[in-house]
């Protein structure tokens, strides 16, 4: 199947997808509850889109296309409330967070849908290890070349999104010392990582995708698990590195941070991206996963070492006018506070110490999502 044509969409429009945890309130473990949730949710119209995910203890919500912060936040809030209400009737808690802190992967159950079963047979335990929860942000692009430019221009900002959204410090009951342990699971997949450096859609289509398809390794864009990937059928690029934050407020703020940043980059305020930018990419990405906002990254052009927190704060200053033009200053305000007060990962670690158990930590995450 050849690559489909890149649809045009409104430049800088936004869409947010959140993968959420379904938690049994009896023992705070993940619970295979998505079939029961869908049974109940279909009784009323849902204020957005809700779909099953690969294992039955995950559920995914998606917003409509938005251009501004407040309507996006309002819709995410409505979807959250609908899910929380349904969950209450079924003894199921809904939670953000990139990983569930103590779930045992072998206990997970694959959702009964042919594609999921196929994926599970192909990837074996990886697909159950893949019970991780991310936020995907779509940014609309006027054309395909703009999409590829933006995708690569964003490369140096990927660590920002990892550190700001980090909410997966624990895996299988233990502190991993990472702030986003979730991304390590994504890295296990053969087609993960960065997209190949091409700035023309024509090149991407014929010199890369067609060749890859010819090798038989991939069939569609769905088979790539890149950090940022183009999504031709929506006319967007999709940023996939974020952990699902503990609150929808943070999810909306991250989306609008990306929106303002994209506007800034599309107006060519920085030197154009080049292949060599990627020399430091994996190192920076690791720093963000491991140390979060306290990480140190290497600037891809000047090679100077900068604190990730400082880098975020100075970026916020640079893009402030663009945020005002997009009516999303409130979102940047939220990001500013996050950079100072710490990410959800530090919040979860504090709760663990205070509550004395991983179950207590899950309980705190549940409360945070409801607020």
């Amino acid at each position: 199947m050849p690559l489909e044509a890149f649809k045009t969409s409104k430049s800088l429009s936004l869409g947010v997808e959140l993968e959420l945890q379904l938690i049994g309130l009896s023992d705070f473990d993940l619970v295979a509850a998505s079939p029961d949730m869908f049974e109940l949710l279909k009784r009323q119209t849902f204020p957005g889109t809700v779909t099953p995910e690969v294992t039955e203890s995950m559920i995914e919500i998606a917003s409509d296309v938005h251009t501004e912060y407040l309507p996006l936040l309002a819709q995410l809030g409505k979807m959250r409330d609908a899910l929380v209400r349904a969950g209450e009737l079924l003894n199921i808690g809904i939670s953000g967070g990139g990983t569930h802190p103590f779930q045992v992967w072998s206990e997970r159950r694959i959702f009964k849908k042919p594609r999921f079963k196929e994926v599970s047979m192909l990837y074996g335990y990886l697909s159950k290890q893949f019970t991780i929860f991310g936020q995907h942000i779509h940014v609309g692009c006027a054309d395909a070349d703009e999409a590829l430019f933006l995708l690569h221009a964003l490369n140096r900002y990927v660590p920002h999104f990892i550190a700001l959204s980090a909410s997966s410090p624990f895996v299988q009951g233990h502190d991993t010392l990472f702030n986003s342990a979730r991304l390590n699971s994504v890295f296990a997949f053969p087609l993960s990582g960065r997209a190949p450096f091409m700035l023309r859609w024509n090149d991407f289509e014929h010199k890369y995708f067609a060749k890859m398809e010819h090798t038989g390794v991939v069939k569609s864009m769905k088979d790539f698990y890149w950090d940022i990937r183009p999504k031709p059928e929506y006319g967007t690029i999709e940023l996939r590195v974020c952990d699902t934050p503990l609150s929808v407020e943070r999810a909306a703020a991250l989306a609008c941070y990306l929106q303002a940043l994209s506007k800034y980059l599309l107006e060519r305020n920085e030197a154009d991206p080049v292949e060599d930018d990627y020399l430091v990419y994996n190192y920076n990405r690791f720093q963000a996963c491991r140390f979060g906002l306290d990480g140190t990254v290497v600037h891809p052009k000047s090679y100077e070492q900068i604190s990730l927190r400082e880098d975020i704060l100075s970026t916020l200053r640079r893009i402030q006018p663009h945020a005002e033009a997009l009516a999303c200053s409130a979102a940047l305000e939220h990001i500013y506070r996050t950079a100072h007060e710490g990410s959800d990962a530090s919040y979860l670690r504090r709760e663990y110490v205070q509550r004395g158990s991983v179950e207590g930590m899950v309980d705190s995450a549940l409360q945070r999502f409801r607020q």
Binding site: L25, S26, A33, L40, L90, V104, K112, S120
Partner: protein, 394 residues
């Protein structure tokens, strides 16, 4: 020279457990028969009144069985989320309705079969309860999860409590009638109830506090809870309190002090498995063949009435409480197992000095068939509800 008769007497229980374990595993591999169904068959066949491998019930065995039951009730209580009842009052409504309907239905049938008022009432109270032990063993064995799983467990715990409450009140009433002593009547009902609950609540606050003191909160607390359950069940047993209520209350109260069993130790691990063999063999071995054949009519009338009442009561509120009618019916089907404590309670009333045992023995037929077929129905209900993982799944 070794005396063979003595040897057999000494080895009776170890041999019975070995046979039950092997038969249980074999039947599970062969036709996926729930293990506890096999244990019941083995227990009944080896019982003193049948083949006679097992000796007449002795007090230590009763205590052990109580401990086994106590561990399961503790775990059950530990998984109950009382806040759910507040968030979803229709669930509470369906619990009260199914219990009340069962009580009325069984009472009418028992009276119709000519039982005395007291016996009909006792039978009706005992029939309200679904066995949390059976439900929990099957859930753990099948690793099921979903609304049928959650709800049948919550409903079982609730109707078990309701049943013990009602039972103790009727016992008080019977004692008052037979002895005429108001004190003795109050003691054997209300005071026993209150003290049982209190004991469980105290333990539920004390043990988590002790665990905090030893800084073991983050780790596996299975051992600590096992020891505590053994202790309070023995205490309740010795004080002639209700070990059932005490253990359930202990679980509930410990849960709200929020330290959770490690998932790997669901069902108390190997110890839980061992004690469940012992419990289910023991229960079935206390049934006699002649009672089984004698009470067949009444027994099966009760099973049918109880089943209809439970399915009706639960399905009535299914839609309102947020599930499909189909799942409502399946919860009713999974509520089949009569509580094992029917028999344990009967055993204990002997010590209380009331001889209800022989009069209520017509339950034997119902009890036996439900010990064997109940687990199969629970398993089927969970499978039909799609709540059991696919065996072919990686």
């Amino acid at each position: 020279m070794i005396e063979l008769a003595q040897l057999f007497r000494d080895m009776a229980w170890p041999i019975a457990i070995l046979i039950a374990w092997f038969a249980g595993e074999y039947a599970y591999q062969w036709i996926k028969l729930p293990r506890i169904s096999t244990y019941a068959v083995v227990g009944f066949v080896l019982a003193p009144t049948q083949i006679g491998l097992l000796p007449q019930t002795q007090a230590p065995m009763l205590l052990l069985a109580n401990i086994a039951f106590g561990l399961m009730l503790f775990e059950c209580g530990y998984r109950i989320n009382l806040r759910w009842l507040r968030a979803n009052p229709w669930l509470a409504a369906s619990s009260l309705t199914e219990s009340a309907l069962t009580f009325v239905a069984v009472y009418i049938i028992a009276s119709w079969f000519g039982l005395s008022l007291a016996n009909a009432l006792l039978l009706a109270t005992l029939s309200m309860a679904t066995s949390p032990a059976t439900i929990l063993r099957i859930i753990n064995e099948q690793r099921s999860a979903g609304q049928v799983t959650e709800r049948v467990l919550h409903l079982a715990a609730l109707n078990c409590v309701l049943s013990v409450l009602a039972f103790k009140i009727v016992v008080g009433f019977v004692v008052l009638q037979t002895s005429g002593s108001l004190w003795q009547a109050t003691y054997s009902s209300l005071i026993v109830l209150v003290m049982s609950l209190l004991l469980g609540a105290i333990a539920g606050a004390l043990i988590p506090a002790l665990l905090r003191l030893t800084k073991r909160t983050g780790q596996d607390c299975t051992l600590a809870f096992t020891i505590a359950v053994i202790g309070i069940v023995a205490l309740a047993h010795s004080l002639k309190l209700s070990p059932i209520l005490t253990a359930l209350m202990f679980g509930l109260s410990a849960r709200h002090h929020r330290i959770v069993l490690a998932t790997s130790q669901r069902g108390f691990g190997a110890l839980g498995d061992l004690l469940s063999i012992l419990l289910f063999v023991f229960i079935a071995s206390s049934l006699e063949w002649r009672h089984v054949t004698a009470g067949v009519g009444l027994g099966f009338a009760i099973i049918m009435a109880r089943q209809i009442a439970k399915i009706g009561g639960i399905t009535l509120f299914a839609h309102l409480s947020g599930i499909s009618l189909r799942k409502g019916v399946l919860i009713g089907v999974a509520s089949t197992p009569l509580s094992a404590f029917v028999i344990l309670v009967l055993e204990q009333t002997r010590y209380l000095g009331i001889s209800l045992v022989d009069q209520l023995s017509s339950l034997a037929a119902a009890a036996l068939s439900i010990e064997i077929f109940g687990p199969i129905l629970v398993q089927r209900a969970l499978v039909w509800a799609n709540e059991v993982p696919d065996r072919k799944e990686f």
